[in-house]
Symmetry: C2
Subunit: 247 residues, 2 copies
């Protein structure tokens, strides 16, 4: 019986395969969005719901920090929070997302209020924050590795939005431009950490499960969006209606 | 029946009275330390145990961040983590505390390992981290307001250490020098936030209880230290023994 865990290379390939199989770049909503097939309301619904995910990422990263005993690891991980929350008022990824919100004709205060966010979006995102707060550090870090697959989707998105939508310009889509440099820095560290720390078969399995879980968190948000806002649209009670929150 | 909460001024005076009555500057261990009455072993025991408190403060602040939905509040609060964890390797309050550890003849790796920390210190500090993670934001912020009383104890400590102990110099006690500017900045924000948000009598009571709880967390650590290392010393099983962790 082989007691050894598969090699570092095989383990990394296993993680990357999860992205090939399950990352949300394959979701029909993204095909619609990037190909210019979304109408104004659908773009707005995406901006509103995705805001909730963005807004919880620094809380997720702070929950991680709160469990890390090594101040050097905390200091490195902290840059993720800085990327999203900014270093001075008006900077950071969350503010850039609110610029996108304005660009698509939404009142940024409405979007920031997180009113109208789909319950299924909240459930998925909150499950992610809870996962990182409650699970051991290895799966908590592994769940961030969807960033391995993010640069491609961001490039596709930047190209698709610029080509197909009037609202898209360097100002409104600056969130994605920044992520092109932020995400690779984060994931280089996160992947190295996971490969270093997943020493047993059980560790590798736990890391793979965590990454799979995270792909589910992302996919579920798009399913909810599609169900609510793509024909035949079924907007759940209390969720954003296209007449609300406009500038 | 008066339904109004006491004025902002009366509430602030109530909070300050808690410090006058219960802050750990009144603990006999601090009198001993600041007056030159501690022997080398007692100073080392203090450095080892207080390190555990220092090391958990950024985790406590991250636990707070993880529950804050307002990215502007998160960004302001984040500076506390930066003060302790630093902005580059080798900077920050935790590294400065390890300089103090070296200065008193302790192996900084031993101190950073948190081996030998008194169980009662762990229990008190862990109770604080848990409090901030689990309580509503108002008591969580209020529990930080012992910093209102910190500048005086830091000044007394700097003067007392420099006067009475050979190890004390600007390098070894730089932790306290930095706190003289960091703590007032933090507490000015924290106090304003608590005064603004404690609008009802019940809110003010909860904030006062939280601050009282925090004074208990600090006091209990010194009681444990006194019991273990001041004559008649009763070092609990597993706790630091004066022959361990030396340079």
């Amino acid at each position: 019986m082989n007691q050894h865990a598969p090699s570092r290379e095989m383990f990394e390939a296993r993680l990357r395969q999860i992205g090939d199989d399950r990352y949300h770049d394959k979701h029909p909503f993204h095909h619609l969005l990037h190909s210019g097939g979304c109408n104004e309301d659908q773009v707005r619904a995406w901006v509103i719901n995705r805001y909730y995910y963005q807004s919880r990422i620094p809380m997720k990263d702070a929950a991680f920090l709160s469990r890390v005993e090594d101040h050097n690891l905390r200091r490195i991980w902290r840059s993720r929070i800085e990327d999203h929350d900014g270093t001075t008022a008006g900077t950071g990824g969350i503010e850039r997302w609110l610029k996108l919100a304005e660009g698509v004709g939404l009142d940024p205060d409405y979007v920031a209020s997180a009113k109208g966010v789909l319950p299924a979006t909240r459930f998925a995102v909150d499950a992610y924050v809870r996962f990182v707060r409650d699970q051991p550090l290895l799966p908590a870090v592994a769940s961030s590795l969807t960033e391995l697959f993010a640069p491609k989707i961001h490039k596709d998105r930047i190209a698709g939005l610029l080509e197909h939508y009037e609202f898209a310009n360097s100002d409104t889509i600056s969130y994605f431009q920044h992520r092109l440099t932020e995400a690779p820095k984060d994931v280089a560290f996160g992947l190295g950490w996971v490969l270093d720390h997943a020493v047993s078969q059980a560790d590798q399995d736990a890391a793979a499960r965590a990454l799979t879980f995270k792909t589910e968190v992302l996919w579920a948000q798009l399913d909810a969006l599609y169900s609510a806002y793509v024909a035949p649209a079924r907007i759940p009670p209390g969720a954003w209606h296209p007449t609300e929150g406009l500038l």
